[in-house]
């Protein structure tokens, strides 16, 4: 009980701190050519999408399936699965809208790859998860709210 409270306080103070110091600590020590640094440094959803997929204009689509839990007890590990039923999908981005850096990950798919990706992300607090799929140069999205009991973008 007491331990849980400690953990909660620690995480809560972290979330506050993360917003202010986020930008300064995200400087990679070695530049990696293909790595899209700007996309991950973006503080808002539009900026993250623009940098990772080339546009911030996305339309909700039933063809994009986003599987995420309704309630995540631990924000440090939130399983997310994104799949799409359309063809020519070239990229997928997963966004946790309330995270200090909203873009959690971005995937470039070759022609052989199926539009399917599954991973585990961190979430700072209860927020919408937005899965954005790029197909034929257009962006389609699916959104789902995930309630987080204990935030965990600190891992």
């Amino acid at each position: 009980m007491n331990l849980l409270r400690r953990k909660f306080l620690k995480t809560a103070s972290f979330v506050g701190a993360a917003v202010t110091v986020g930008s300064s600590v995200l400087i990679p020590q070695r530049a990696i050519a293909a790595y899209n640094k700007a996309a991950f440094e973006a503080k808002d959803i539009d900026g993250a999408l623009d940098a990772s997929l080339g546009s911030a204009q996305h339309s909700p689509s039933d063809s994009v399936k986003l599987k995420a839990p309704d309630i995540a007890e631990n924000g440090a590990v939130v399983p997310i699965t994104v799949s799409a039923s359309m063809g020519n999908v070239s990229a997928i981005s997963i966004i946790a809208s309330a995270n200090p850096q909203p873009l959690t990950s971005s995937y470039q798919l070759s022609a052989a790859a199926e539009p399917y990706v599954s991973t585990r992300i961190k979430m700072a607090k209860t927020a919408d998860i937005i899965a954005v799929v790029k197909a034929d140069g257009k962006l389609y999205s699916s959104t789902k709210e995930v309630k987080v009991t204990i935030g965990g973008c600190g891992g």
């Binding site: 995200l26 070759s110 790859a113």
Partner: protein, 103 residues
């Protein structure tokens, strides 16, 4: 040091690859509870999956991915016995790769 576990299975022309990497995935914003100092950022930035030498998928990550990351993806055109190769690079310039046979 093997830091990557791969399981790949072909069924109906589609291969599903599941992979687990061991990595701390520090965001750089967390503090050490004893010293109060910030734990430096240490996370995987790029994961590449290759089948027979051609890249199937590239994942760009940052601190927003959970510790000891799990990643699963699917692709077409592979048959059992083929080799799938997964490699990662992190923000400190370290990296690792592993190969597995598709079942």
């Amino acid at each position: 040091m093997a830091t990557i576990k791969i399981r790949a299975k072909a069924a109906g022309g589609v291969t599903q690859v599941k992979t687990l990497m061991s990595h701390p995935m520090e965001t750089g914003t967390r503090k050490d509870s004893k010293t109060g100092e910030k734990i430096p950022a240490h996370y995987i930035t790029e994961v590449t999956a290759e089948h027979n030498g051609s890249t199937v998928m590239t994942a760009n990550w940052a601190g927003g991915i959970s510790k000891n990351p799990y990643l699963s993806f699917k692709f077409k055109g592979a048959s059992p016995g083929d080799t799938i190769r997964i490699s990662w690079v992190d923000n400190m310039g370290k990296g690792d790769s592993a190969e597995a046979q598709i079942k």
